[in-house]
Symmetry: C2
Subunit: 159 residues, 2 copies
DNA sequence: CGGTAATATATCGTGCGCGATATAAGTAAC
DNA sequence: GTTACTTATATCGCGCACGATATATTACCG
């Protein structure tokens, strides 16, 4: 498990402001892929992909959200969500209904089957949490740093 | 910018070991997408996608790596890398040559044009680094935590 | 040496993620 | 109310990410 990019950061020559600090992007990228690989075998039995799982999580927390609202939460737009949610609808996990108060919107709601999947999903979350090897407090701090990073990156580019 | 999932972590009910601690996966996911969006407009002029950029970074650090070696570094396999590298070859940024000492391997090497792109890429890295809003030391610590997380996730599942 | 297992890369199908574009519904100005 | 503008969702094409599979080369073992 030798890794050029990773090892580079331990190179004394790259300490203090250097281009290699920007390789944070790579570690985020690799960590995200690693999560996906852990989730896949756990989510397969539920018939969910990882992004579908995130949409379901959003709905388990607040049912009946519009497509745009879900997209705001997850940072995705309709070109990604529409087909994804249609697949969830095809699996009878959600319904898609036009908002009668604003016909532009589509409200996504859990079916009984979709709602029932929550308990199994909670078990998946617990399993993954164990396998991060992080203390609850450490994970909380890491999440806070990542949210801050995301916020900074969403600002218009400076320079 | 109200976010159900994010806000959930501040709910007192979810402190200490709870399923929501596992939402770390979501913050990693969202941070990765945010990086991709920052990089896109900067990489478009170079004719590179973000994953292609990561492959080039790997080659700028160590030229002439095999496909598998690059995959080890980035956490990708040949089904992703082969077509990606062929596109880099099509753009005349790399060459692909069978290793004469082990004909199973394909060695990927920078062309002069590919090597020349490094200086522009360094500028992109510097620009993104500025926009993470993180001190060099903070970024270093965050990277270390993410690498540790990745390592933990790559272990066989426990439980 | 021959046969089998392991390794390295390539191919294919599916589902994201996103820019560009289209369409329809709501909003504002006059 | 008609025109112009904005908003919400949908469609399309491209490039990744990955499981499953194929093929070729090397390594191992009798």
């Amino acid at each position: 498990m030798c890794n050029y990019i990773v090892d580079m950061s331990d190179d004394p020559a790259s300490s203090s402001p250097s281009p290699f600090d920007a390789m944070l992007c790579f570690d985020v990228y690799a960590a995200n892929l690693a999560f996906g690989r852990v989730y896949k075998p756990l989510l397969d039995p539920l018939g969910l992909t990882y992004p579908q799982f995130l949409v379901m999580l959003s709905l388990w927390m607040a049912d009946g959200q519009s497509v745009g609202r879900i997209g705001e939460t997850l940072g995705l737009d309709s070109s990604t969500l529409t087909p994804l949610i249609k697949r969830l609808e095809g699996a009878s996990l959600v319904t898609r209904l036009r908002d009668t108060r604003d016909e532009r919107r589509v409200l996504v709601s859990l079916t009984p089957q979709g709602a029932a999947l929550k308990s199994e999903a909670d078990r998946v979350l617990t399993c993954v949490t164990r396998n991060t090897g992080l203390e609850s407090e450490t994970a909380r701090q890491l999440r806070e740093q990542l949210r801050q990073l995301r916020r900074a990156l969403q600002q218009p580019l400076k320079g």
